[in-house]
């Protein structure tokens, strides 16, 4: 999430104070991405350093009273950013994929149960997001958009799990091949949530 560019976008509407920027950022992202004041000020400082925004007050550290406007350079930067494709390359090691791969080889672990545990967890998350969407005011389009994005992301994980499951059902059973110390009850059972962001698992 580029806070930098979101702030630039808000400044295209006219000069604003830091606190105001924070409030508007949260409103327009459906209040799903909380932002702290510190983040806003550090981001503004960097934008100013890079010449993308300028302060309207001369007082060097007017703090919360300081108002900012976007520069021509900032406008150009924003336009470029909006049209630049985001980085959609996959994280180097997707934790969920690794868990399923590992589960295939671990004795006493049924990979289908591992898949179902993740499937249930993700559907529960999707239910929570859907509840957010359901309770939102009909005119709160930003919130609906943010929630949809989460739902589509989670949905694609479910589809991958479904596909993994049917592939495994069709395939002949492989021999367990992991070393002895990683076998046994409890090993390889995922306890944490599947998160593609925390790619902390090691091969």
């Amino acid at each position: 999430m580029s806070v930098r560019h979101a702030l630039l976008a808000l400044l295209t509407e006219g000069p604003k104070y830091g606190l105001q920027l924070r409030q508007e950022f949260e409103q327009r992202t459906g209040e799903v991405w909380p932002l702290n004041v510190g983040q806003v000020y550090t981001t503004l400082q960097r934008l100013e350093r890079d010449g993308l925004v300028a302060s309207d007050d001369d007082a060097a550290d007017a703090g919360p009273q300081k108002s900012f406007h976007i520069t021509d350079g900032g406008q150009a930067e924003l336009t470029t950013w909006l049209k630049t494709p985001p980085d959609l390359s996959s994280p180097p090691r997707d934790e969920l994929v690794i868990k399923v791969l590992v589960a295939i080889g671990v004795r006493d672990i049924d990979v289908h149960e591992v898949i179902q545990a993740h499937r249930r967890h993700i559907v529960e998350l999707m239910q929570e997001w859907t509840r957010v969407k359901r309770d939102a005011a009909p005119e709160d389009v930003p919130l609906a958009l943010v929630v949809d994005a989460e739902l589509f992301r989670l949905d694609s994980v479910i589809r991958w799990l479904d596909t993994a499951e049917s592939r495994l059902r069709r395939a002949p059973k492989p021999e367990p091949s992991l070393p002895a110390e990683s076998r046994g009850p409890g090993h390889g059972v995922p306890k944490s949530t599947p998160s593609t962001r925390k790619a902390g698992a090691r091969r």
């Binding site: 999430m1 799903v32 991405w33 909380p34 179902q116 499937r119 249930r120 993700i122 559907v123 529960e124 998350l125 999707m126 239910q127 929570e128 997001w129 859907t130 509840r131 957010v132 359901r134 949809d148 989460e150 739902l151 589509f152 989670l154 949905d155 479910i158 589809r159 479904d162 499951e165 049917s166 949530t193 962001r197």
Partner: protein, 240 residues
């Protein structure tokens, strides 16, 4: 009292070596106002479960109650009346009558049940309107797109004094915004005290349900647990 109660339902199709156990010892209760989604791979028994809950088919063994009435204790005529009056059913292939317009299809069950033609039409038009089909009320099914036909079938299932709403893949032919409109209508219907069961492959649609049940090889293998408080979401996933 549960609106729908299935206990120990087994359904076997065919005999001998060709027998298929489409459902094995399935227990399920759905309360008034509750919306349940059923997810599972193709052939896992979802439609079979729904047809048995809808009294369209009898189980090989086990007991079905709708609104507290044990089906096995009702006469054919009483079962038919229950089906017509209390149960709204959306079939996987819609089942619209080709010779009737969209509005007539929707209001037919009400009329069969003794509602005046005028009141039935008004209720039918209202349901169509909520699904964005006001302009198609006087079209015949073959003049409608696949997704429009699907929405007519849903409108037909929610009109009148339903107690149980059963839908088999109610959004198969719909894009996600229309699929969402369907689920919102189903939810609104349940909010009024109707019990709903929706079969779907689609996790986004299933996530409108209060409870999601997972079925594999004719057995219920898992279900989602009751939600945490509304705050949990932002802690788990929203804070970045």
């Amino acid at each position: 009292m549960s609106v729908l109660e299935l206990s120990g339902i087994t359904k076997r199709y065919g005999i001998g070596a060709a027998a298929v156990d489409a459902l094995r010892e399935v227990d399920l209760r759905v309360e008034p106002g509750e919306l349940v989604a059923i997810m599972g791979p193709s052939g896992s028994g979802k439609s079979t479960l729904l047809t048995i809950a809808g009294t369209l088919e009898e189980p090989t063994s086990g007991e079905v109650s709708v609104g507290g009435l044990e089906l096995s204790k009702l006469s054919r005529a009483e079962q038919a009346q229950l089906r017509r009056r209390a149960i709204g059913y959306v079939f996987q292939d819609f089942n619209l009558l080709a010779g009737l317009t969209a509005a007539e299809n929707v209001s037919l069950p009400l009329e069969l049940d003794g509602t005046s033609a005028k009141a039935a039409r008004a209720a039918g038009l209202e349901a169509l309107e909520r699904l964005g089909l006001a302009g198609r009320a006087d079209h015949f099914p073959d003049q409608l797109s696949g997704g429009e036909r699907q929405r007519v079938a849903i409108a037909r299932a929610v009109v009148g004094e339903r107690r149980l709403l059963l839908a088999d893949e109610p959004s198969g032919a719909l894009d996600s915004v229309n699929g969402e409109a369907v689920m919102r209508l189903v939810r609104a219907t349940c909010q009024g005290g109707v019990a709903g069961v929706v079969v779907t492959h689609d996790a986004q649609l299933a996530s409108w349900a209060d409870r999601v049940i997972f079925i594999r090889d004719g057995r219920i293998v898992d279900q989602t647990s009751a939600p945490d408080g509304p705050e949990s979401l932002l802690e788990v996933d929203g804070a970045r």
